[in-house]
């Protein structure tokens, strides 16, 4: 759990750093996409903290975490689909960034938990 927390916190910091660098280069929209990515990692830092508060049992914590990892992005997938249907490229890319970040969180959790 602590390892995953460190990975996610590092990703939050990395996204914030990247957003700041892009903003400094007058790439505000790209910076905002990085902020969106960072926010997704931030959400799962909070989920992980909530999981640790709820139970001291690692299996229960993992179940809680993975359950939220499934549940939270379901709305994003719907939003992405709707954006695609109405040709809203801007929203589509934003949802893609969020979903790509979710994939990274899944990957990180699988690497640590198997």
């Amino acid at each position: 759990m602590d390892k995953l927390m460190k990975v996610l916190e590092a990703k939050v910091a990395e996204a914030a750093q990247s957003a700041a660098a892009l903003a400094a280069e007058d790439r505000r929209d790209d910076a905002n996409l990085e902020k969106i990515r960072g926010n997704v990692y931030g959400i799962f830092v909070s989920v992980l903290q909530a999981a640790q508060k709820q139970s001291s049992d690692e299996a229960a914590q993992r179940a809680f975490f993975e359950n939220n990892l499934e549940r939270i992005p379901s709305g994003w997938r719907i939003a992405r689909q709707k954006a695609e249907e109405r040709g809203d490229t801007v929203r589509l890319v934003q949802e893609d960034v969020k979903l790509a970040a979710i994939d990274e969180v899944w990957q990180a959790s699988r690497e640590l938990w198997g």
Binding site: D26, R27, D29, D30, L33, V90, V97
Partner: protein, 185 residues
């Protein structure tokens, strides 16, 4: 181009990634994958910025076999900054509308239901509005005797002497050889 459109355009252009895309398109038309390769950015990022550029009319797209080609809107970029700045401001129209509404409010409060002037406004700005309204009772280009002027004004207020003098002092009417004539503004 309206003021709102100009703001949207300048906001859109104030982004280095989009300027790089436009820089590439200024040389030749391109599709997303090509721009992505040339600028070293994800195709989704390029699409994101192209959408924003298309929304402000900076680029246009057309289907070409397998790809959607993007073209710089040269007509837009041929415009000078001065021509954009010389466009009538949307704000000016809003101001005009506010001014019109305020004038109507002043007239409603100083004229009663029968069209009589309740009181002569003390505030000059309001008095000017009332005087302008009274001046409309006089035909442009026609001379009126003082008696005629008094009678017309008396239909609105008993103090026709003050109002008649005010009409002349505020240049709504001109007095020459005892004759009064409306000044067309």
């Amino acid at each position: 181009m309206t003021e709102q459109e100009a703001v949207a355009l300048f906001k859109c252009l104030a982004d280095r990634t989009r300027l790089q895309i436009l820089h590439t398109l200024a040389r030749e038309d391109a599709y997303v994958e090509l721009l992505s390769e040339r600028l070293g950015m994800a195709p989704s990022t390029i699409s994101f910025h192209l959408k924003k550029l298309a929304d402000v009319g900076a680029v246009s797209s057309s289907k070409s076999q397998y790809y959607t080609m993007y073209t710089l809107n040269r007509e837009l970029f041929d415009k000078t900054m001065l021509s954009i700045l010389q466009q009538e401001s949307d704000d000016a129209a809003v101001q005009d509308e506010r001014e019109r509404q305020w004038r109507e409010k002043v007239l409603r409060s100083f004229f009663d239901e029968d069209g009589r002037l309740r009181t002569i406004p003390a505030q000059r700005k309001k008095r000017l509005i009332v005087l302008e309204r009274l001046a409309e009772e006089f035909e442009p280009g026609r001379d009126y005797s003082e008696r005629e002027v008094n009678l017309i004004i008396a239909n609105y207020h008993d103090d026709f002497c003050t109002l008649r003098r005010d009409l002349v002092d505020e240049c709504f009417m001109r007095r020459e050889d005892g004759q009064y004539r409306r000044v067309v503004r």
